[in-house]
Symmetry: C2
């Protein structure tokens, strides 16, 4: 081991995948919600999860999302030391805002930093995808990419890994409501159809193209017209109590758009300006307060940096 830094503390951000029209492809990064993680070099070879706080998750590396991504990277290394990982989990697993992605990204980002950065962000995403696959039973990167790159991202493909950073207009804020119910990712995948109407697919790719254009041109009204989902929402919304009521409340309060965060149950809204995002939060809270379901809400600016050293 060199004299370089032996320990690093990280903020691993929550993220929102899909962004209404961009199922499996688009995502953005949050600022006010995320895990903290510590990654430390250790003389003993291997990957060791030494501390987990917040939620009850496995310590065995090969059964833990952060451990699996770390092991995927570690297998490519020829080094005489190992890494310890501490996870201070703030993002509830299964909430829909990239809890597993944050863990998967944190370990490999930290290891890479401690080694002086031998891997680039695309390679980190590829390692992290191994951990993500443990949680979701399929290899996807639509939460990983925004967690690593920050801002809005488009995962053009995962094989090969091809990630685009889309501009994030400075005045976009996210509001999240997290109903405290459990939706299994497997269920939210299983509910999706294998085939879709060509006419619906055309609407969806028009919206993906126009949302990318809107982000490039800071055209908030075009964002409003583009944040639509005619493919996935009709199915997954059935799993989320009061989904349409919450969405309507958010739009009534001025949101540019609202949709299912990842596979749910969290619901996100995007707004122009923090004031509107706070009003949207009020509207979401007021609606959900009339139900018996516990919930949490957050307002966050778009995190254009992504994962960061604390």
């Amino acid at each position: 081991m060199s004299n370089a830094k032996n320990e690093i503390r990280l903020f691993a951000p929550a993220t929102v995948a899909n962004v209404s029209c961009g199922f499996d492809v688009l995502g953005f990064c949050l600022d006010s919600i995320g895990d903290e993680m510590v990654v430390r070099k250790t003389g003993k070879k291997g990957i060791f999860i030494t501390k987990i706080e917040g939620y009850d998750l496995p310590y065995v590396a090969s059964l833990n999302v952060a451990g699996v991504s770390a092991l995927a990277m570690y297998a490519t290394l020829d080094i005489d030391y190992g890494f310890e990982i501490e996870i201070y989990k703030r993002i509830k697993p299964g909430s829909g805002v990239g809890s597993s992605a944050a863990s998967a990204v944190g370990s490999v980002y930290g290891m890479n930093e401690l080694m002086g950065g031998p891997f680039n962000k695309v390679q980190l995403t590829t390692f992290a995808m191994k951990g993500e696959a443990l949680a979701s039973q399929c290899e996807h990167a639509d939460n990983l990419a925004p967690a690593i790159f920050g801002g809005f991202t488009l995962v053009k493909s995962v094989q090969p890994m091809d990630i685009l950073q889309i501009p994030s207009p400075s005045d976009v804020f996210a509001t999240i409501i997290h109903p405290q119910i459990e939706i299994k990712t497997a269920d939210s995948r299983a509910i999706l159809p294998k085939v879709v109407a060509l006419s619906d697919a055309i609407v969806q790719w028009a919206n993906v193209g126009s949302l990318v254009h809107a982000l490039h041109t800071s055209d908030y009204e075009l964002m409003r017209r583009s944040l639509k989902d005619v493919i996935v929402e009709p199915y997954r919304s059935k799993l989320i109590p009061f989904y349409h009521e919450v969405k309507d409340a958010a739009l009534q309060a001025g949101a540019l758009g609202a949709g299912i965060a990842g596979s749910g149950p969290s619901i996100f809204a995007l707004s122009k300006g923090k004031d509107t995002a706070l009003k949207v939060q009020d509207a979401m809270r007021a609606l959900y307060a009339t139900t018996a379901i516990p919930f949490e809400t957050y307002v966050s600016k778009i995190n254009t940096q992504g994962i960061k050293i604390l």
Copy 2:
């Protein structure tokens, strides 16, 4: 009638719809191919097609694409005069490069200019769509929008009409080969499936998003990775003799991508730089020269102006 100009001569450009990944949505405008049209005020009320050269098309306005779009606009006007239209057709009908769109656009653009421009380009597109519908039996605007706006366009929706102008990197050139065979638009529509695999649709909208991003960032290598069509090409390519051989030849010669122009039979390629576009033309010609099918080819820069007064 005022003393203002009573006659106008126009260049109504050819266009390429779909652009591989963006079926029914994307299009771009050509510079070196197009119709000429003359639109003239006349004291007699109504729309009169007074001359057609180049191809045998109906003179009855209600049966002619240019006439139908003109009548759609005329029906909204309260004026005591009419318009004569002359069509010098250079774009062969049914070639796949927006022959009907050029005619549909020319008449309404010319009338609007002669009246001092009461309608905006979006409204012109809506009138022109009525003419386009006569030719293709469905209302679409993916050729009309680039003919009117120029450059690359994304038709986000036609109801309401929502057209985005996507930046056109200055070094993009198109090569077109037009095999002189007839494909009926109705046939090329009928061959398409009503449903598509969700997994294919995801690939397609990832490519639409990345192509829009590539055009914004002048990222030619990303254009190369984005100009793919997993939805329509597998079906429509069957109607075009030697399609895959021509496409392969274009890519071998350095094209960024190649695909079916609109509903075919023309095949387009996009290249970085005119030299490459000319090499692509050579490669396409060499391939098609080995067949018994007559053909024409063109090289054109992207026409960022669209329809223009001569």
